[in-house]
């Protein structure tokens, strides 16, 4: 009994401060902090009132809903847009199934995707667009949640869902491009957010394993592999992405004149090869932090090189560099906007064409702000997911 009382006596004091106390302790505790607080508040006031006044009185937001379709999908023909919905629904179902089967991280990811979809749906609802679109997004969210609950804890579905993810890329491409009796939509009319997302997704999904292989290559004990990887990484890191994109446009046709490689494919190639070099350096940083004893223990247990890397070394190396890797994903996502220089109309490219349209002259601020918000929403989602991954793995 006494013991318990003394235990209670040494409990930490509970934090029961009210807002005023908090303000006093954090913002007005010294005279210079008080001064800084006032300066910052004044600055915020001026900037925010400026922006808000402009946004609500002067800005002409009509340009966004009027061009929403080309912002989202570029010149993709209106009559074929249902095919994009097929793709969105497929991915929603896959995301929902993964969340239901694996729970944990997959669940969080699906929730982020779902709330992105729901959020965009709500925003779209405020603009006078075809009501069909609103229902479309809602259907996606419903599919996601439905497949989530339907598949809860059915582990037997795992191989199917993994296979589904593997096939999701060719599946997406086939639907977007057209097959069988469907009209062909050439990649030259793919654009807007659709193109940005495709470029970023391919870049992320392909450059990650490539980067891991390059990092392992750079640490290989075989000289040829080591030199080749090092030379590749250093070369690519010494050249700006714009240059690589131009070279992919100009050099590939020179070296392979008989192949007519699609322009978007060449952009994907450039972005992926560029990002892989940076990914490799991030992964190498993680590999360097693994003590030699881990390799020795793995060897001593009879694990061969691939098993040792997959089961012991990479899981530890990668989780220690998640922030750097996600940072690389985010810059890749934003760097896709550079494809505008080779004539592709991604989200930013579309923004430029909209501004150049005589109907919408002088509306740069509105259009660029809109593009910036879209980039921000996706980048911040990735950053948020990365924080959640770190928390789940206990490395934060």
């Amino acid at each position: 009994m006494e013991e318990r009382e003394s235990n209670q006596a040494i409990r930490p004091p509970t934090a029961s401060k009210n807002i005023l106390q908090w303000l006093k302790e954090n913002l007005f505790n010294t005279w210079y902090n008080t001064l800084l607080t006032f300066l910052a508040a004044g600055f915020l006031y001026v900037v925010l009132t400026g922006i808000l006044t402009w946004a609500f009185t002067e800005a002409n937001w009509g340009v966004i809903p009027a061009n929403l379709q080309i912002f989202l999908v570029g010149a993709y023909p209106r009559a074929e847009i249902w095919r994009i919905w097929v793709v969105i629904y497929t991915l929603s179902v896959l995301a929902g199934l993964s969340a239901g089967i694996w729970g944990g991280l997959a669940l969080r990811l699906a929730l982020v995707i779902g709330s992105l979809g729901g959020g965009i749906g709500i925003i779209v609802a405020f603009f006078p667009i075809v009501p069909w679109n609103r229902l479309g997004l809602l259907a996606g969210v419903v599919l996601l949640i439905g497949s989530l609950f339907w598949s809860r804890r059915s582990k037997g579905l795992r191989p199917w869902v993994l296979g589904g993810w593997l096939l999701s890329f060719p599946w997406t491409m086939i639907w977007l491009h057209g097959f069988g009796g469907l009209a062909t939509v050439f990649t030259s009319s793919w654009g807007g957010l659709l193109l940005t997302l495709i470029l970023a997704a391919v870049g992320i999904v392909v450059s990650f394993p490539l980067g891991v292989l390059l990092a392992l290559g750079r640490r290989s004990s075989l000289p040829t592999i080591k030199w080749a990887s090092t030379a590749y990484i250093e070369t690519v890191r010494g050249v700006p992405l714009v240059t690589i994109l131009f070279m992919a446009q100009i050099m590939v046709p020179i070296f392979l004149p008989d192949f007519r490689i699609d322009k978007i494919l060449r952009a994907m190639l450039g972005i992926t090869l560029f990002s892989a070099a940076y990914m490799a350096e991030n992964v190498r940083g993680g590999l360097q932090a693994i003590p030699r004893g881990q390799y020795e223990a793995a060897h001593a247990l009879g694990l061969n090189y691939p098993l040792m890397m997959l089961l012991i070394i990479l899981p530890q190396a990668l989780r220690s560099v998640i922030p750097a890797i996600v940072g690389q994903f985010i810059s890749l996502f934003k760097d896709t906007s550079l494809v505008a220089v080779i004539g592709l109309l991604d989200l930013l490219g579309i923004a430029k064409t909209v501004i150049a349209n005589p109907d919408w002259l002088g509306l740069q601020a509105e259009v660029y702000l809109f593009a910036a918000v879209v980039y921000f929403v996706f980048s911040y989602s990735m950053s948020y997911i990365s924080q959640k991954i770190e928390e789940a793995l206990g490395v934060a």
Partner: protein, 253 residues
């Protein structure tokens, strides 16, 4: 004294004039000895004398550059298949435990049986739990290594090595990184293992353990075997003066 001439059919490890260099540094300078099945050998000697390097050549964590090493009838060479076979027969316990920090205790133990030996997961898990019970920590099966004490980690490391059902166990200073009060819990597990008939090569400074468990003690200095003898002879009547000095220094503190 066992050397090549009197290595018998029962020899499970045969070392014949083993040399090793780190760059220009001659670490192992002609080691010739052999180990019998179920023999317990303690290897001691001053720091830097090549004890770790020597036992690490036996599962080829280090390569030797001259001489021959034959483990259970398989000669160690660059042939990868031989190395993988030998590593399945030779378990190793390290000074720093080297548990896999991202896996639970149970996963640490089942990893190699599942992936290398292709044992069914359920069987690997029940075997692992039996091993954990044998080393006295079954209640920690689902914790991460960082959540248990050093002595417990080292016992997990022993269980992990045993899960591959090795014929030989190598120990490289298994208690040197432990707080004093945890040394005995690890030595107890090793005593039990010795009694079960395992072939054991143990690098250690625990002379009490050596006297009690070893069939033979090898004393190394500057990359050579200076003296090898049963514990009674080794401690009470050492022949070499470096051995005498080492024993007097080690037993003093």
């Amino acid at each position: 004294m066992a050397d090549l001439e009197n290595s018998t059919d029962d020899s499970i490890i045969i070392c014949e004039d083993v040399h090793k260099w780190f760059d220009d540094f001659h670490v192992l300078r002609g080691i010739t000895t052999s180990f019998e099945r179920a023999e317990k050998v303690v290897i001691c000697g001053p720091s830097g004398s090549g004890k770790s390097t020597f036992i690490r050549t036996i599962n080829r964590l280090e390569t030797h550059q001259r001489g021959r090493i034959i483990v259970d009838g398989i000669e160690l060479s660059d042939d990868l298949r031989n190395i993988e076979r030998i590593r399945q027969e030779v378990g190793m316990v390290f000074q720093q435990f080297n548990l896999f920090p991202h896996l639970t205790v149970l996963e640490n133990i089942t990893l190699s049986p599942i992936w290398v030996k292709k044992t069914a997961r359920s069987q690997a898990e029940s075997e692992a739990l039996a091993l954990l019970e044998r080393v006295g920590i079954e209640e920690h099966a689902h914790k991460l290594p960082a959540q248990i004490s050093g002595g417990q980690q080292q016992r997990v490391a022993i269980a992990r090595a045993l899960a591959m059902q090795p014929r030989i166990m190598l120990f490289d200073e298994p208690t040197s990184a432990l707080d004093p009060e945890m040394i005995n819990e690890v030595l107890d597990v090793m005593r039990e293992l010795a009694a079960s008939g395992m072939t054991m090569l143990v690098v250690t400074h625990e002379m009490g353990f050596a006297r009690e468990v070893a069939d033979r003690i090898i004393f190394m200095d500057e990359g050579k075997i200076v003296e090898e003898a049963p514990p009674a002879v080794f401690f009470d009547n050492p022949q070499n003066e470096r051995t005498q000095l080492f024993i007097s220094q080690t037993l003093q503190h």
